[in-house]
Symmetry: C2
Subunit: 182 residues, 2 copies
DNA sequence: AAACCCATGTAACGCGTTACATGATTAT
DNA sequence: ATAATCATGTAACGCGTTACATGGGTTT
């Protein structure tokens, strides 16, 4: 399916970026739902350039350091739009290693299961706190209430969804934990 | 990380299975959170046998059809327990192609975004219905209320979590949709 | 007879991570 | 000076999907 291809096209449609910048983006906002390492990104950028979906200018940073600033082409924008307007089926499987362990709870003692779930709850709560902080930072940047036209609307969507995900996890863990305590 | 290794060990710790049976399991209960195709399972079974974590007997079905019934060894059970008792960090990224599209909402028109979100909502509701049906089927099999000791507790955990996941998705989509309508 | 399910395997290819490799620039 | 960050690439390996390949058993 080459999702990375579309992830890069989507990022470049927001603005010009270097390979390094793209790597950085995957560590931030969209990183909750998609990411890739630089070792995968650089070859993909080369491929997309060969295919004519993106192009670049070489820029000198300082005196020697070269960087390539990529931008999306008309052909690339068309390709992106095609993907954005494709309705895909929901994946059968959303892989989650913790839930795989949970499924095998009959292979654990009650104490072991309790520790596993408690550890997961702590980590999910910590993650929710981090996301809440980021949401507060976003709130300060936007003209409340946010709307479709805000340049931060995409960020708002992924942040609220990630927060929903963690809250849902926490709620479920807290609902299951009493069954592992007594 | 070889998660498939542990998925197979976990399944075999519940009972003896053929490669075909394991493939079937991934289409059912645990399929919401982990799965693999038979083309990946058969080589992995061979590898686990070589490593001494599982073993098999050949059984004749009918007159000619051979199948291999696998079971976990003591060494395999130890390996499984080690994994079950390892606390892993929450993954930074839980890949979700729909959310990647959502992040690129600024590349869509309001109408396109509305259609995308509406389509997703319909699909998530349909999935929730299927999961609810499966939950009702499970309810009939168990001595209500379910407890840690029930042989269906693992199934109960993954089903309730999958239902929570879909409900959370639906709730979030319904919260976002008004911003794409007006 | 045909369709569907049971049953096992391999081959080719693409996706993704870790490690290898190098060097410039900026902040402390 | 030193550490952190910016910047780009390749190599090796493992994971995962699609397709190729074969055949037996059961149900309609």
């Amino acid at each position: 399916m080459r999702v990375l291809k579309y992830a890069i096209l989507g990022l470049l449609d927001k603005g010009e970026l270097s390979g390094y910048d793209i790597t950085s983006q995957f560590k931030k906002e969209i990183g909750q739902f998609w990411s890739a390492k630089h070792s995968q990104i650089y070859p993909e950028l080369k491929k997309l350039t060969d295919e004519g979906f993106i192009e670049y200018q070489t820029v000198i940073q300082g005196t020697k350091l070269e960087k390539k600033i990529y931008s999306i082409t008309k052909s690339g924008k068309q390709e992106l739009d095609k993907w954005l307007n494709t309705f895909s089926p929901i994946p059968e499987t959303a892989k989650d290693e913790f839930m795989l362990k949970a499924y095998f709870i009959s292979s654990m003692s009650k104490e072991e299961a309790n520790e596993l779930f408690t550890d997961q709850l702590i980590k999910r709560k910590r993650k929710l706190n981090h996301l809440d902080e980021r949401f507060n930072e976003l709130q300060e940047k936007i003209d409340d209430p946010i709307s479709f036209d805000s340049p931060h609307f995409g960020h708002f969507l992924v942040l609220t969804k990630a927060i929903e995900r963690e809250k849902g996890y926490i709620e479920w863990l807290e609902r299951m934990l009493p069954m592992l305590n007594k």
